[in-house]
């Protein structure tokens, strides 16, 4: 029998940390697992190790994490860093990899807080070396101070490209241009949500500040850009783009050996899918996410999902949802009554509602056009592991391989080492478009363990009990 733990939290981001702090304070035995070497999650990555000058460079946003990490360290929750979760099933057995050894632990209750990943958007040339996700580049900056030496172009949608450009500007890196790929019409669609958004803190004002600073720093920002393409032979040599304004086929070229792209983030659903949790298509966020109630509960008993993992809400929302799930866990063991839970949840629920009011505005403002969700050109590689193009996928659908899993069986797309993480959304989008059905009618690939690769020797030496 595997060793049993009362509450296991997967992910030490703001969501997981708040869940753990609250749960521990209510008397629960908590273990927090995270594959990173230190707590903080995506946003506060390496916060306890980042030299002061670099964290100052990264802005006040980043420093907020220090308090959170300190509170976590004082909470009494166990913390297992550098622990990768490679399996979660409906019986709450968790496969972990620690110091090269694989084992299975049993949780009575699980809070999944594994956060978000950058939305993979296949476009022409996206697999060329030198093209990188802006978020991944940001991590290199946060943790190692690594930046593109010859300057870079930053393209995409959402607030992150602006933020990364701003952070690079402050770090003295040449940003040749910021290409904003959200259609100009998004502004009109977003406008009605603006009053709601204004209530929600400083999101908008920060965006304005970044834009102003970039303007002052001489970084050109181009709006409404479309048909992004990376060109080059063995690696990227130039970026090409145009505008889809009526009748215009103007193309622009920027010579660059680095292109950073970012199209927003989507929940990491591989653990919850492997565990059999129900997922739904979120129209606003244009992604699939686990279906949860306000306490984070999924349809699988004892498994809750919080933070960006349950739907993109940002770091503050993650904190609130983490506390809510912890209260619910405490209630489930009768450490607090339902009334106590509801009373203590009051503020978090209120803040969550307020914080979430900015989302409809941001979602409308940064809404991806179909041309980014459904790769338009047949030549675009969709599955980079198995080198399968959009055209091959369309052809397979026409030959009656009518859902994403059939396409996967037939073409092997999604069967490579990334296990479909990079191509799953685009494949489902292509299938839906080709069948002329709403994408909500489809689910992405089935997910099986290991959700992170494991060697044969590691699996052979699996420890399923603690001596």
């Amino acid at each position: 029998m595997p060793k049993t733990y009362q509450l296991v939290v997967i992910g030490a981001g703001p969501g997981g940390l708040c869940a753990a702090i609250t749960a521990a304070s209510l008397g629960l035995d908590v273990v927090v697992l995270d594959e990173q070497p230190s707590p903080g999650g995506q946003i506060y990555r390496g916060i306890s190790q980042t030299p002061d000058d670099r964290s100052a460079l990264l802005g006040a946003d980043y420093q907020r994490g220090a308090d959170l990490v300190a509170a976590f360290k004082a909470s009494g929750a166990q913390y297992w860093p550098q622990t990768t979760v490679w399996s979660l099933n409906s019986r709450r057995e968790i496969g972990i990899l620690r110091q090269g050894r694989a084992s299975i632990i049993q949780a009575e209750r699980v809070i999944v807080a594994s956060g978000a990943m950058e939305r993979p958007v296949p476009f022409l040339g996206w697999t060329l070396p030198g093209v990188m996700n802006a978020g991944a580049a940001q991590i290199l900056l946060k943790t190692a101070g690594v930046v593109p030496a010859q300057g870079t172009v930053i393209a995409g949608t959402g607030p992150l490209p602006l933020l990364v450009a701003w952070q690079y500007l402050r770090a003295g890196v040449k940003v040749k241009a910021v290409l904003e790929l959200s259609p100009g019409t998004n502004l009109w669609r977003a406008a009605p949500y603006l009053p709601g958004a204004l209530v929600a803190g400083d999101y908008i004002s920060r965006g304005l500040k970044y834009t102003l600073d970039l303007n002052k720093g001489g970084v050109p920002i181009y709006y409404g850009v479309s048909r992004l393409q990376a060109r080059g032979n063995d690696r990227i040599e130039a970026v090409e783009y145009g505008w889809d304004i009526l009748g215009s086929d103007r193309r622009e070229t920027i010579i660059t050996d680095s292109l950073l792209v970012h199209f927003g983030v989507i929940p990491r659903t591989n653990l919850t899918k492997a565990a059999g949790c129900q997922h739904i298509w979120d129209r606003g966020q244009q992604c699939w996410r686990p279906q949860v109630d306000r306490w984070g509960n999924t349809n699988v008993p004892g498994i809750a999902v919080i933070g960006d993992n349950a739907g993109i809400g940002g770091a503050r929302s993650a904190e609130h949802s983490g506390r809510l799930a912890a209260l619910e866990a405490a209630r489930s063991w009768h450490l607090i009554s339902t009334q106590q839970r509801d009373r203590q949840a009051h503020n978090d629920l209120k803040w969550l509602r307020k914080d979430l009011r900015v989302r409809p505005f941001l979602e409308a403002l940064y809404r991806l056009p179909d041309s980014l969700l459904v790769p338009p050109d047949d030549e675009i590689l969709v599955c980079r592991c198995e080198e399968i193009s959009a055209g091959q996928i369309r052809q397979a659908v026409r030959e009656e391989h009518g859902d994403p899993n059939q396409v996967k069986f037939y073409l092997r797309c999604g069967m490579g080492p990334c296990q479909g993480r990079q191509c799953a959304p685009a494949v489902a989008q292509i299938v839906a478009a080709e069948n002329k059905r709403p994408v909500a009618d489809y689910t992405t690939f089935r997910v099986r363990p290991p959700i992170r690769t494991l060697t044969i020797a590691q699996l052979a030496n699996l420890e399923s009990s603690e001596s």
């Binding site: 399996s87 099933n89 409906s90 019986r91 057995e93 496969g95 299975i104 059999g276 030959e399 009656e400 391989h401 009518g402 859902d403 899993n405 059939q406 069986f409 037939y410 092997r412 069967m415 490579g416 080492p417 296990q419 099986r448 363990p449 290991p450 690769t453 494991l454 060697t455 044969i456 020797a457 699996l459 052979a460 030496n461 699996l462 399923s464």
Partner: protein, 370 residues
């Protein structure tokens, strides 16, 4: 459209039966609750094995092997067939004894395909094998294919001959209407004078509708597959006294099976991988292929399969109803048999007899008094 035959189940057995019937000019429909190949036929290990078959199955497997060799002429695709042999490895004297008895048995039945091989020959065939093995049983001309591709080829060929697939229609009942069978689904009904049960892991349910119960048990064999490796292995490797099926696919990935079963849920039609058993499976791999230690496992999966108590299928006509035929219960080795099963079913349906002996597969073996 007037239909001659309605087949429940769009896996390989249903599709092969449909194809053979259509070649004989029959109007056939296939009623499938999910999509063709969604279950065992699409996700199996693709092994084409005469080696170590139940004696009753050997004549069928031998004909099937011939059909796989010429599969392109049947289905218009080579199904990525790779006939690089299959071998069962002996690791000690007791294993070798077991294998030589097996070879003698097969010979006594008049077949020559299972050949005892020396240690030297074994290492010629499988240089990557751990050094302790002492010999093996080898069938040249066995091999493997890509199951979902094979299923697709069968389906498309059948469709090109007029077979109609109704996918997304779970059959929920069967009714006798005069001389016809009515296949009932939630949203449509199909009628045909002849009914074929190729419902795989759900075949027992179809039998229950027909009031002809069978002791079918569902199991979910698990598989794992590694990252791509440079070519190092030709034949499919099994072992005399271990649960293992080990093959390197054309693209370099290594497919590992061993008949370890996953948890499964027939209502949700889901399976859940049992990691402890896959750990045992990995230990077996390391015992025979130590070089695999640091190779990464990329995926695992499992598929729902019908097992009969005696591990051989039911193939033949119903003992209870006229014009009803069964082909199910392949007990994790039906992929290789699928071409010949379709041929047998069409012979039975059209001529009331088969060119191959089917007595051992009769459904009556489960119905005799007791």
């Amino acid at each position: 459209m007037k239909v001659d035959v309605a087949i429940v189940g769009g896996g390989l057995m249903g599709s092969s039966t449909a194809l053979h019937l259509a070649r004989a000019g029959q109007k056939v429909i296939v009623v499938e609750k999910n999509s063709p190949g969604r279950h065992a036929s699409g996700v199996n290990a693709g092994g084409l094995r005469r080696l170590n078959r139940d004696p009753a199955e050997i004549p069928l497997a031998v004909v099937a092997a011939q059909m796989w060799r010429e599969i392109e002429s049947l289905v218009g695709s080579d199904c990525d067939v790779q006939l690089s042999g299959q071998v069962r490895v002996a690791e000690n004297a007791a294993d070798l004894q077991k294998l030589s008895e097996r070879a003698a048995l097969v010979r006594s039945l008049g077949f020559e395909h299972e050949q005892l091989i020396t240690r030297e020959r074994l290492y010629q065939l499988v240089p990557a094998l751990a050094p302790h093995c002492v010999g093996g049983l080898y069938t040249a001309g066995d091999g493997f294919a890509r199951p979902y591709h094979a299923l697709t080829a069968f389906r498309r060929q059948a469709q090109s001959l007029g077979v109609k697939y109704h996918t997304g229609f779970p059959v929920t009942g069967l009714e006798r209407l005069g001389s016809c069978w009515r296949v009932v689904t939630e949203s449509a009904k199909f009628e045909a004078p002849i009914l074929v049960n190729c419902a795989g892991a759900w075949a027992g349910q179809i039998c229950a509708y027909l009031d002809e119960p069978v002791p079918l048990k569902v199991g979910a064999p698990m598989m794992m597959v590694t990252e791509r490796l440079p070519h190092f292995l030709d034949p499919v490797v099994g072992a005399a006294s271990r649960k293992l099926s080990f093959k390197q696919m054309q693209n370099g990935t290594v497919l590992i099976g061993g008949a370890y079963l996953a948890e499964h849920d027939m209502v949700k039609e889901t399976t859940e991988i049992d990691l402890t058993k896959l750990s045992a499976s990995s230990q077996t791999v390391l015992a025979l292929f130590p070089r695999m230690a640091n190779v990464r496992i990329v995926r695992t999966w499992a598929g729902l399969e019908a097992f009969m108590p005696d591990r051989i299928p039911v193939i033949g006509s119903s003992a209870k109803h006229p014009s009803v035929y069964h082909a199910f219960g392949f007990s994790a080795h039906g992929f290789q048999l699928s071409p010949v099963v379709g041929r047998i079913m069409s012979e039975l349906i059209l001529n009331q007899k088969s060119s191959l002996a089917l007595e051992p597969f009769s459904i009556q073996r489960f119905q005799s008094s007791g």
